[in-house]
Amino acid sequence: MNAQLRAEQVTVSFGAVKALDDVSISVSPGGIHAVIGPNGAGKSTLFNVLSGVYPVTSGTVVFADLDVTKSRPHKLVRAGLARTYQNIVLGHVTVEEAILLGRHHLTRAGFLRCALRTPGARAEAKAARQSVHHLAEMLGLADSLHRIATELPYGDQKRVELARALAAEPEVLLLDEPVAGMNGHEKDEMTELLATIHARGDTTMVLVEHDMRMVLSLATHCTVLDFGRVIADGSPAYVASHPEVLRAYLGSAHAPREVTP
């Protein structure tokens, strides 16, 4: 059974500003849960809370059996939680290396074994590489494995970022704006890809997205944030016709302050 991710009455304050105000969200296993809302609604903050990066001012967040607010992020990854970032950081490495980072918690070799390249460490590294190659195959990155990640087209970089998160074999995958900055064609491709991945495994997905079209076609459940509060929660169809949601989407255009990794 998939691990459960749940936040209850979470408030996050930056000084006088409440980025999240009494937000509760429950991600049901196996679904695709979309978090939507206008810029500055607190979506990124929520993601940072869910992935253990931001401390909460009050409230509880639980993943599997872990208290997320007290666990360091790498422990959450080990428990089956992975995430992507809207602003991609790939570093000056090959695509293969970038994706291999996702295998970190599934491999063991430490300083000494790496320095000595013990047979165990080599076998482990080889296996990790193989699984990365499989993943790259699936995501259409097989031809780019040995290219420098940051030199790929933007859409491909997004897929590298996704591959890295998938390499961790998560039970719950947090996707921070997976199609932001893409053109229409790329968006369709990515949507299809996510649907395929979801259909193939039993990965629970949580995604933050602006693109309503994508959300409506993909999500099984929607939570709408505005000014740090949940204004609607339910099926995509229910949310899309919710009057408060329409008002929030039509009526606001304040500048975003996105969190970079």
Binding site: H74, V89, F111, C114, A115, R147, A168
Partner: protein, 377 residues
């Protein structure tokens, strides 16, 4: 675009690399038979610096943690070695009379232990914060050494007992071992030891950088948050990098002590810390080969300038007036090179080499394409 042409160039590259390594290996082995003491000493100094620089480049270049603590760690290892290896009967200082080889290994671990002791700082602080914190270790280390004269020898330092391996003392002797008719004295023997240590340090350093661990360290450098959400325990990664780097510094410290033949607290100062930074920056941050090139340049240059000062413009012998001392000239150059690297080629000498190589490959490919077109037409 940096694509690696897998079909043709990889095997060719491997062959070229193999031949080059073999040539270098042979050169290193026969060098002491032909070089005079000055060149051997320069080589030894560079070797010890290179071992330390490999450790520092893993910390600063790969992990993105600034550190000035290298002299402190080197001093710790050097003094540990001397104290453990010195004969308690003959010395005026502390001495435990351990076999030198055991003392050297323990000294490297002692440096690692110092690194471990610093881990409350090394694991929690990032980048510049750690840099400033380690600034204090240099001053505190010097203070301890200056005051704990029984171990360090105080201001004048203390002589270093020679290394001894498998019953062979690496020191001058009236009946030296002979290789191809050349008697192997202290410098020659130390040369082989240093070469062995460098090879080990190089391989270990490269292996770490290109491994699971190296990847996690690079991720920490690029973004701690990113590393953590990809399953990297950021604190233990930083702690590990610091301890590993400390042990390289320890090995460098022991080699340094053996090479100079005496340890004095004064040597392990802030200037040395900055020299090490210069080495890893000039060579190319995060590159093991770069660290060695940087070490050759920064550690070798003052010795060369000093030796050939009478043939060089501007440079004068220590104590002479009317020109520049070798050490000052090196400072100028090191500073200027750091600035140039940081402004124009953050990957240092290695970056320049890569650029040169890719230019050459591109030119080669272009001619190939042109010739193939010509034949098709």
């Amino acid at each position: 675009m940096t694509t690696i042409d897998q079909t043709t160039s990889r095997p060719t590259q491997a062959v070229i690399r193999g031949v080059a390594l073999a040539l270098i290996g042979v050169a290193v082995c026969v060098a002491p038979l032909y070089l005079d003491t000055f060149w051997l000493r320069t080589g030894l100094t560079v070797a010890s610096a290179a071992v330390g620089a490999i450790g520092l480049t893993i910390l600063v270049g790969t992990t993105g943690q600034l550190s000035f603590a290298h002299p402190f760690l080197m001093a710790g290892a050097a003094v540990t070695y001397v104290t453990l290896a010195d004969n308690p009967v003959n010395t005026a200082h502390l001495g435990l009379g351990l076999p030198p080889a055991a003392a050297a290994v323990l000294a490297i671990f002692a440096a690692g232990a110092l690194g471990l002791a610093a881990s409350p700082l090394a694991s929690r602080l990032s980048g510049i914060y750690l840099g400033i914190a380690t600034l204090s270790l240099v001053f505190i280390g010097q203070h301890i050494l200056e005051n704990w004269t029984a171990a360090s020898g105080g201001f004048f330092g203390r002589p270093v007992p020679p290394m001894s391996l498998f019953g062979l003392s690496l020191a001058d002797s009236p009946t030296p071992p002979v290789l191809l008719g050349v008697p192997l004295q202290r410098e020659e023997l130390l040369w082989y030891l240093s070469a062995a240590v460098i090879v080990v340090a190089w391989i270990a350093g490269r292996n770490v950088v290109h491994s699971r661990v190296g990847r996690s360290l690079a991720a920490v450098r690029d973004s701690e948050v990113l590393a953590a959400t990809n399953g990297v325990n950021v604190r233990s990664a930083k702690r590990g990098a610091y301890i590993a780097s400390s042990m390289f510094a320890g090995a460098a410290g022991v080699l340094f002590a053996l090479t100079t033949g005496s340890v004095a607290p004064e040597t392990f100062n802030l200037g040395l810390a900055i020299s090490f930074l210069a080495m890893v920056v000039v060579g190319g941050l995060g590159s093991v080969a770069g660290a060695c090139m940087g070490a050759a340049f920064i550690a070798g240059l003052p010795l060369l300038l000093q030796e050939f000062s009478d043939q060089l413009p501007l440079i004068v012998q220590t104590g002479e007036a009317g020109g520049m001392q070798a050490s000052t000239a090196t400072s100028y150059l090191a500073g200027a090179l750091i600035v140039l690297c940081m402004l124009f080629e953050p990957r240092g000498l290695v970056g320049l080499a890569t650029r040169g190589r890719s230019l050459a490959t591109r030119a080669l490919r272009r001619t190939r394409i042109l010739t193939s077109r010509a034949t098709h037409n």
